[in-house]
């Protein structure tokens, strides 16, 4: 029998029972749309995490002042941070370390002209730009000399530049940070969201010395809340961590058995954990959606079984005029396949449309990839074959005379 005839026959059968075909397809439509939408959301989240990780910089440690108890909470070790600028310099001199930047964080109000803007201010050193792999959109980063003499210069993020300056060029302009005048000498290139959801472009970087003298309280002098460290390579991360620990313990004169007054965190490892969590989450979303696809397939099987029972006489007539068992098998299999694939096509449209709406209305990042579309089509095909086969085989197994006698 000719293949196109099979499709004609299937198409005719499906169009003569429009309502039923539509309802049967609905299961597939919902299943495929759910799979596409869930995968789009999951993959969008993954893509966002990936770009946040890339924007964070690579092979990173953060060394925080204060110890971490076994429960994970930071134990207070008095007001003054335990880490010093000299600690940061000493760490930089270790063999496995590329860069090391002490950081003194805080918030402050910025004023330019009549506009003010609250943002986070980081006092740090030029190494910070290296560690964070942060390039400039315009102007330049401050220098070690600026740090040494406590220069009142600032590098601002894109959001700050936009909020304070609009279309104006910020470089060379004077802004006030907590009343103190600072000259803007550079604008940072955009990085977008960090892993914890903060906008990394909404920030101001100033020399750590100036930050402590002019913006934060003087009690912090020469001390840093944390130090950002970049190791030379991923392979040397463990060695670097060990040598940082040894160095700081000896510099802080911490004896055997005494608790550290600092905490070293491998940020790159943490980021990878976040990435794998997102991956698992998106797999789970996809799996839940896949269940609805299977339910859609069962719907097809259900209707095909009803259809075979209802059309027993038709099957008998077809056999009486020469249909072989395999012709009948193909007829029903192709009906099931047509249902599942058309359902899949409509589901794809809804899924992609839904993903677009989610991005538009909820602001979630989504990514409909060719791989997920191909997968949905492939799975729908398999569902059509799998759930169509049993009813089709049942139809093909009928005896011509029994089928003719039915009803």
């Amino acid at each position: 029998m000719i293949f196109t005839s099979l499709f004609e026959t299937a198409w005719h059968a499906l169009t003569t029972h429009r309502m039923r075909s539509f309802l049967t397809m609905l299961g597939m439509v919902i299943g495929v749309a759910a799979v596409i939408l869930m995968l789009a959301i999951g993959q969008g989240a993954q893509a966002m995490v990936r770009s946040s990780i890339e924007s964070m910089g690579s092979n990173l440690f953060i060394i925080m002042s204060g110890a971490v108890s076994s429960g994970g909470a930071r134990v207070a070790t008095g007001d003054a941070p335990s880490l010093t600028f000299d600690d940061a310099d000493a760490i930089r001199d270790l063999p496995d370390i590329m860069a090391s930047a002490p950081v003194s964080p805080g918030g402050a109000q910025l004023i330019y002209g009549g506009v003010n803007w609250n943002t986070s201010v980081y006092g740090t050193t030029p190494d910070y730009a290296v560690v964070r792999n942060w390039s400039m959109a315009s102007g330049s980063f401050f220098s070690d000399a600026d740090v040494r003499r406590g220069a009142r210069v600032a590098v601002i993020g894109g959001v700050v530049a936009r909020e304070l300056f609009g279309d104006e060029d910020p470089v060379g302009k004077i802004i006030r940070i907590k009343q103190a005048p600072f000259e803007v000498i550079g604008v940072l290139a955009s990085k977008g969201q960090s892993l914890d959801g903060r906008d990394q472009d909404d920030t101001v970087l100033v020399p750590i010395s100036s930050a402590q003298q002019k913006i934060f309280s003087n009690t912090l002098r020469n001390r840093a809340r944390f130090i950002m460290v970049q190791a030379v390579s991923e392979k040397r991360m463990d060695a670097a961590e060990a040598s940082i620990n040894d160095l700081l313990r000896s510099r802080h004169r911490i004896g055997l058995g005494q608790d550290d007054d600092f905490t070293v965190r491998n940020l790159t490892a943490l980021a990878e954990t976040a990435a794998s969590t997102t991956r698992i989450m998106s797999l789970l979303l996809g799996a839940i959606a896949a269940i609805s696809l299977v339910v859609g397939g069962i719907g097809i099987m259900n209707i095909m079984l009803v259809s075979v029972t209802e059309r027993t006489r038709e099957i008998g007539i077809r056999m009486a005029i020469g249909a072989r068992r395999r012709d009948v098998l193909w007829q029903f299999l192709i009906e099931a396949l047509t249902l599942s694939l058309i359902g899949c096509g409509i589901g794809l449209l809804f899924g992609i449309g839904g993903a677009w709406l989610v991005e538009r209305l909820a602001g979630l990042p989504v990514a409909v990839t060719p791989a997920s579309v191909l997968m949905a089509v492939g799975v729908s095909f398999l569902i059509g074959v799998f759930f169509g086969f049993y009813p089709a085989r049942r139809a093909a197994g009928l005896d011509p005379i029994d089928a003719l006698r039915s009803q």
Binding site: I2, R313, E314, I317, A320, I321, G322, A323, I401
Partner: protein, 237 residues
Amino acid sequence: MTTPGAPLIEVENLEKDYPTGAGVFQALRGVSLRIAEGEFVAIMGASGSGKSTFMNLLGCLDRPTRGSYHLDGQDVGRLSSDQLAALRNREIGFVFQGFNLLPKLTALDNVALPLMYAGIGREARRRQAQAMLERVGLGERSHHTPLQLSGGQQQRVAIARALATRPRIIFADEPTGNLDSETSRQVMDLFSQLNREEGITLVLVTHEADIAAYARRCIRFQDGRVIEDVAQAEVAA
């Protein structure tokens, strides 16, 4: 082609048992007969005498419990289900009392259906189906569905379908059973014309004497056996 003199149909001690609640029921109890190519045979007998059972066996729709059936020298009992399907498709046309057309298909598509299973392309089979509908006088009605046709017209569509693959034999089980006498006569005229002009072998069940009179041989069934097998003069159509 058949060797001269060899029968087209040859059944030997054909038996058919039906399982029923009260044990098996023997619908056929040993039927032996031969039908040569080109014959026009009427099968008569009371209701329940086994005529339909016999026709279903001849039409390869059912298998006998015991006994043998040779069609054109082939032992039908040894054929696979695919080979039987091919026989039903190409060698045999079956006409039912209740027409058995597919209600959702047009007359043309109904007639084209056996050609589809014969592997003939869409255009060719539509052309051949149209020609066959014209042959039975329904060329104008090819796009009507069965419900839009009268009983006699439906049966003529069914005959066109049976003829579509140009089989050598037509089995008809009470083809006029649902028709009034005028349309019955039209259908019977068509049958005898096919037999006379195209040499198609015809085996036809009826319990009406005037229908049986169209045939040149009459076989009478009773309780699953042949009780009479006589030649008769042809009625002028």
